[in-house]
Amino acid sequence: MSQPANAAPDSDDALLRTTGLTRHFRLGGLLSRRMLHAVDDLNLVIHEREIVALVGESGSGKTTVARLLAMLYPPTRGTIHYRGRSVHRLRSRKDVLWYRGEVPMVFQDPYSAMNPVFRVSHGVMRNLKLHRRDLDSAQRHEEAERVFDVVGLNPAGDMLRKFPYEMSGGQRQRVGFAQALAVRPKLILADEPVSMLDVSIRAGILNMMASLRADEGASILYITHDIASARYVADRIVVMYAGYAVEQGPTEVVLSRPKHPYTQLLLSAVPDPREKAAPVSADSGEPPRVIDPGDGCRFRQRCPYAIDECARVTPLLRSMGPGHDAACHVAVADAEDHRGEGFGPISSVAKGTDTVA
C-alpha cells in the first residue's frame, strides 16, 4: 500500500495514533448553541501488541473515543492515523472494509448491538464472509464454532442457533466479542466487554485477551470500569475525566503512584470484597460540567487541592516520569518541587487513600 501524503508527522511504531481528537455534540435543536464536549483534544497512542486500558468516570467520553476510532462518528476536530494512514481519507469501500476488518468494535450494550430477527450466528457468519474471503462455507462454520468456544459459549453448535432474546445478558455480551474475533483483528476496540460476566467467566475472557496478544500479536483498547481487570491485562492505562485524558502511563505506575486527584479518588473507591466497607468519602459525586464547560480544570469543583489557576487555565498533560503523564496544575508544581524524590504531598496522601475521608 502506498504511503499517503498525510502520514502522521512522526511515522513511528504506533499502530494507531490520534492527534487532537475532539468530538462535541449539539444539545437540543439545530439552533441550539449549547455544546456537549464528549471528547476534547485526545492524543492517544496504541502500539502493536499492546493492551491499553481506558478507564474513567461514567460519561467521560470512553465510548465516544471508541466510536470515533471505529469510524462510527466523524470527529469535530483532530485526526486518527492507523498504520500511518489517515483514517478519514479512507473513502473507497475496499479501504473502509479493510479498516473495519482490522479494527472491529465490541459494543458496550449487547442488547442494542444485535438484530433480534436473526440467530446469533448471523453476525459471526456475516463477518466471516466479509472479512475472511479465503474460507469456504464449511470452514466458516468451523471458525464460527471456534470463536464461540473461545469465549466460553458452549456447546457452540447449540449456542449459534439461538436468537439474541434466548440468551442471558452475559451470553450476549460474549457473542459481541466472538464476532470481533471472527475477523482476525489487529486492534480490538472492546467497550466494557466483561461488565456482565461473573468473575469466573470474566477471568476466562481476560486470559483469552492476553493470549490473543501473545499468540496473534493483536492489540486491544480495553474500556472498563473494573480497575482490577485493567491491572491484570493492560500494559498501559489512560484515565479520562469529563472528556479529557487526565492521566496515562504504565499500568503499575499509575495504579501505585497516581498523580491526578481524579485517579486518586477513583483508586480510593476501588472496593475489595475482603475488606470492610471503606467509609463513604466526602466526595459530592456532583457531575462535572461538560456542557459549554469553558476554561479551567473540569475536576476543580470536586478537587480537594484546587488552586486559583485551576479555574482559569485548562491543565495539559505533563510528564510525571517515564511514559507517565498527568494533567493537573498541582501535580505539576508538586513534581517540580520534588524532582527526584518521587512522592509529593499529593502522592503521599494518595498512598493512604484506602480509607481517605
Partner: protein
C-alpha cells in the same frame, strides 16, 4: 417474625423451546422482610434475570412459571390479571432491568418517559413532575439538562442511572434491580449505592439486587443468595457467607476475585463450564465441577440443609449434620 414483604415459594420457571425445556429457575424459595437488602450472585446464565422477571411478573412466552407462588404483601402476584398488575407495578414495586437500552423507549426523551410513568399512577401537575424528575436525576448524579436527551444521547452508565432514577420516582416498597451498577465507575457506583441505602433506611423499602460485584454485596446487602444452575446453592447472612462460605461453589466464587492491591496472581476462575439447563447434571448440579464431590453427589440431589442461619444445598452438610447428632 412479622409477615414477610415478599414470600417466594417453590418457584420454577422454564423456557419451552421447540427442542428443549430449559429449567432456568428451579424450586426457589426465599423471603424478604420490609427494609431488607438481598443480593443475588451467580454465574452468567444461571437464571438470575429469569428469577427477577418471574418475581416482577414480567415474563413472556416461551417462559412459563411451572410451579410456585410469589406472595407480595399477602397477594399472590402469579394469580393477578395484567390490569391488576399494572396497578401495583411501579408504584408498589419497581424494576431496574439488566439492559437500560432494552427498557427505555428510544423514541422518547428521558423526561417524557418519567412523565408517562408518573402520569400512569397519579394525578400530578406538570410542575411537580418536572421537579420530581430533576430531583431523581440529581440523585443518581446526572445533570438535569439530560431530561431532554434521548437514550442514545446518554452514555451507557448514564442510561443505567436514568433507569434507576425512574425506579425511584415513587417510593415503592420493593425495588428489584438486575445488575444496576455494571456500567458505572467505582466512584459513581459507591455514591449511588450509598444513596440507595440511605433512601432505603429512610423509606424502609426492600431491595433485591443482582450483581457480579462481590464488594457491592459485601458492603451493602444484609443477606446474600448464591444461585447455581437455576437453584439456590446457598442463602444466608452476608457476613457469615463471606466469612465462611459453605457451598464449594460459593467458595470458588469468593476466591476467583482479582485484586488491585497486593501481588498480581494468575486468575483461574472455577474449572469447567456452566451446565446446560436443558439437561442439568444428575444428583448435585455442581458435581461435575466440584473439587469435593463424593460418590453420592452424582446420584443424590441435595436438599437445602440449615447450618446455623445459612441454608446450603450440598451433601457435605448431610454428613456433618448426621455426625453432630
Amino acid at each position: 417474625m412479622p409477615e414477610p414483604l415478599l414470600d417466594v415459594e417453590d418457584l420454577s420457571v422454564s423456557y419451552l423451546t421447540d427442542t428443549a425445556e430449559i429449567g432456568a429457575v428451579d424450586r426457589v424459595t426465599l423471603t424478604l422482610q420490609a427494609g431488607e437488602f438481598l443480593g443475588v450472585v451467580g454465574e452468567s446464565g444461571c437464571g438470575k434475570s429469569t428469577l427477577l422477571f418471574a418475581i416482577a411478573q414480567l415474563l413472556s412466552p416461551p417462559a412459563e412459571i411451572t410451579s410456585g407462588r410469589v406472595v407480595f404483601r399477602g397477594q399472590d402476584l402469579v394469580r393477578l390479571s395484567d390490569s391488576e398488575l399494572r396497578h401495583v407495578r411501579w408504584r408498589d414495586y419497581s424494576v431496574v432491568m439488566q439492559s437500560a437500552m432494552n427498557a427505555l423507549n428510544p423514541m422518547k426523551s428521558i423526561g417524557a418517559q418519567f412523565k408517562d410513568t408518573m402520569r400512569a399512577h397519579e394525578r400530578i401537575s406538570a410542575d411537580a413532575i418536572r421537579t420530581r424528575s430533576a430531583e431523581v436525576l440529581h440523585l443518581v448524579g446526572i445533570d438535569d439538562a439530560h431530561l431532554e436527551s434521548y437514550p442514545h444521547q446518554l452514555s451507557g452508565g448514564m442510561r443505567q442511572r436514568a433507569m434507576i432514577a425512574m425506579a425511584l420516582l415513587f417510593t415503592p416498597q420493593l425495588v428489584i434491580m438486575d445488575e444496576p451498577t455494571s456500567a458505572l465507575d467505582v466512584v459513581a457506583q459507591r455514591s449511588l449505592m450509598t444513596q440507595i441505602k440511605e433512601l432505603q433506611q429512610q423509606f424502609g423499602f426492600a431491595v433485591i439486587f443482582v450483581t457480579h460485584d462481590m464488594s457491592v454485596i459485601a458492603h451493602y446487602s444484609d443477606r446474600v443468595m448464591v444461585m447455581y444452575a437455576g437453584q439456590v446453592a446457598e442463602i444466608g447472612d452476608t457476613g457469615s457467607i463471606f466469612e465462611s462460605p459453605l457451598h464449594p461453589y460459593s467458595r470458588g466464587l469468593l476466591d476467583a476475585f482479582p485484586s488491585v492491591r497486593g501481588p498480581r496472581r494468575p486468575l483461574s476462575g472455577i474449572p469447567g463450564s456452566p451446565p446446560d439447563l436443558g439437561r442439568p447434571p444428575s444428583g448435585c448440579r455442581f458435581h461435575p465441577r466440584c473439587s469435593e464431590a463424593m460418590a453420592q453427589c452424582t446420584t443424590t440431589e441435595p436438599p437445602l440443609y440449615s447450618v446455623g442461619d445459612t441454608q446450603v444445598r450440598c451433601l457435605l452438610y448431610a454428613e456433618q449434620l448426621r455426625d453432630a447428632v
